[in-house]
């Protein structure tokens, strides 16, 4: 495994058993993603995008092959160690935001920090910074039901970055948003990538995403079928035409 790669998947196979059937979600996939890149994994439904993301995030195990993230091989880690590893290295963003409805925006963002040794004052300072980065400093006492979809996703992003993880993994972060909100979220991810040098891996169906990322990996039926550069900075019309 090479440490210069933030993410290094070697001959990864993931097979799910569904009753008597075996589903080969990923079939001998090898990918190396350098640190500090913003990449998109694209492909049709059932192509294995989310499975790959789950393996990178350490919430699923490869059936065979090796997975190394942030220079650490996580393939053989025990559940308890993986949880602690996730807390330090991974920031997760979900399609449906997955905020805890009974907690305020502040408390939702504070969640990952509860796993650290930070004092209450330090936690507050970190949370306020994260909420400022996503432009929601004035909404910290709001509950998720009091926020729009775009705002909820920005809170989810603040939660993902608050513990300063090595890698941010986002599963369809714009999938439940209108066009304007989706552009805002993609722009925010670009800012995180540029200003804070975060490695971001995003699974998406959204063709607009190609304009924001460095590389696009294309999956189909569990196989890596293509790797192409993103069109970062390309005009929206051009990207839409090419998509």
């Amino acid at each position: 495994m090479d440490e210069k790669y933030a993410i290094d998947l070697e001959h990864v196979v993931r097979i799910y058993k569904r009753d008597e059937f075996e589903v080969r979600a990923l079939d001998d996939v090898t990918i190396q993603i350098p640190a500090g890149r913003f990449v998109a994994i694209m492909g049709p439904s059932g192509s294995g995008k989310t499975t790959m993301l789950n393996l990178i995030a350490g919430i699923d195990h490869a059936t065979t092959g090796r997975v190394a993230v942030g220079g650490e091989e996580i393939t053989g880690m025990k559940e308890r160690d993986l949880a602690s590893w996730r807390a330090r290295h991974i920031g997760l963003v979900f399609q449906f935001y997955n905020l805890i409805p009974v907690l305020t925006a502040f408390e939702n963002v504070e969640l990952p920090l509860l796993l650290t040794r930070l004092s209450k004052a330090e936690r507050r300072s970190h949370v306020e910074t994260a909420l400022r980065v996503v432009n929601l400093a004035d909404r910290m006492d709001h509950y998720p039901r009091q926020l729009s979809g775009g705002q909820e996703q920005r809170v989810a992003i603040a939660r993902a970055i608050v513990a300063d993880p090595t890698i941010i993994v986002a599963d369809e972060p714009t999938g439940d948003l209108d066009a304007k909100s989706a552009e805002e979220i993609l722009g925010l991810l670009v800012d995180l990538n540029r200003q804070f040098h975060k490695t971001i891996v995003m699974v998406t169906h959204d063709p607009r995403a190609e304009r924001y990322v460095d590389t696009v990996y294309r999956l189909d039926k569990g196989l890596l079928v293509g790797t192409e550069p993103g069109r970062r900075g390309a005009p929206a019309e051009a990207a839409a035409t090419s998509a």
């Binding site: 919430i59 308890r80 602690s84 907690l103 408390e107 990952p112």
Partner: protein
């Protein structure tokens, strides 16, 4: 402490469900603690009041039959006997039938020797010996009827066809049953026309190890007489008296446990529903880095708080209700003051904690160990 906010916020996720669960646990533990208090109090009375050196000698045919007062002289002559005191059950009623409490006529000259552990003040004893109509009253009866020392009261005869007018000269304390009233037997004898019979004789022995020997001597001494005696230690006497209640006590205990078990199952169902609704959130928390153990602790803490709140509410209200209404009347004798003993309080709180923890244990373990990807897929 940093997780307290999470526990607290989740408790009030569904206020109605939390309140109803707390109330259902509270009601069941109210019933449990009230039912379990009865036999516990009975056992406590037995251990608290019984002296290891006192013997009760009564008619072998049963407590309804009397024995000659002359037996006392023969009993005090038995080796190791320090004192003997005759006692007659008067069965008087104060005001109304439901205003009853146990009342007996006793030898005024012997009371301090036989009931040396009843904490009767020397002044009260002196007055009791001096005034023929004197009586000593238990603290609870004093309180229940707002009586005071120096007050005159009248007991209506229910066994005897006359009333007695008594003057309160002191309060019974120490190991004395708190509802008893004792007055002088010479007063009763005179009013009854000196029948020369008593309900029983209390015997004080010098040492506990001599009790069996004295019991044997008393019963052998009156064998084949017209009124054979049955003598027994005080604890055996009170235990025998309570024997008639034992089946009821046992049923009360069983009912108490059934009620707790039933509510435990109901609470388990509620906990299962509550945790099932949050499987997605739990998966998100685990994906953030919360370990299964932390998740399990959080879920069980929530359930523990609910259980303990129910327990505090249940046994607190049982404690107050039992204290306010002092279940039963004085006529129940030793069972006259059913209060919640500290032991039952502790048992009830432990039961509430167990209901809390065990009702959520199954679903919490299942949720904490569930595959994160599967759980997230269900949310999506």
């Amino acid at each position: 402490m940093k997780y307290a906010v999470l526990v607290f916020k989740n408790l009030f996720r569904s206020k109605r469900r939390t309140i109803l669960t707390v109330l259902s646990i509270a009601v069941s533990l109210f019933i449990f603690s009230a039912l379990v208090s009865v036999p516990t109090v009975a056992n406590q009375i037995l251990s608290d009041t019984a002296s290891s050196t006192r013997i009760a000698a009564h008619n072998k045919a049963g407590l309804a039959y009397s024995i000659p007062v002359a037996y006392r002289q023969r009993i005090v002559a038995i080796p190791h006997v320090e004192a003997a005191m005759t006692q007659s059950w008067f069965g008087g009623v104060y005001h109304e039938l439901y205003d009853q409490f146990p009342n007996f006529a006793v030898d005024h000259e012997q009371i301090e020797k036989v009931y040396s552990d009843w904490a009767i003040s020397p002044e009260s004893i002196e007055q009791f010996k001096k005034i023929r109509t004197a009586c000593l009253v238990g603290a609870e009866t004093m309180k229940r009827f707002h009586l005071h020392v120096g007050q005159q009261i009248q007991l209506k005869g229910s066994i005897y066809n006359f009333n007695v007018t008594l003057q309160i000269v002191g309060v019974l304390g120490g190991k004395a049953p708190p509802t008893f009233l004792l007055f002088r037997r010479d007063y009763l004898e005179e009013a009854a026309g000196r029948p020369g019979f008593v309900s029983m004789i209390w015997v004080k022995v010098d040492k506990p190890e001599n009790v069996p020997q004295v019991i044997a001597a008393i019963d052998e001494g009156f064998a084949n007489s017209s009124a054979e005696t049955l003598s027994e230690s005080e604890s055996a006497f009170i235990g025998g008296f309570m024997q008639s209640y034992r089946t009821i006590f046992r049923m009360a205990e069983i009912l108490g446990f059934i009620v707790v078990l039933t509510i435990g199952l109901v609470a388990a169902n509620t906990a299962a529903m509550s945790i099932r609704e949050r499987r997605g959130e739990i998966a998100v928390m685990r994906s953030i880095g919360f370990t299964s153990r932390t998740i399990l602790s959080l879920l069980l803490s929530e359930s523990l708080v609910i259980g303990l709140l129910g327990g505090l509410l249940g046994c607190g209200s049982a404690f107050i209700v039992l204290k306010l209404f002092a279940v039963g009347t004085g006529s129940m004798g030793p069972m006259s003051s059913i209060r919640m003993p500290p032991l039952v309080l502790a048992e009830t709180l432990i039961a509430s904690a167990l209901i809390g923890v065990f009702s959520a244990l199954g679903p919490a373990v299942s949720a904490a160990r569930r595959n994160i990807v599967d759980a997230l897929r269900m949310v999506a």
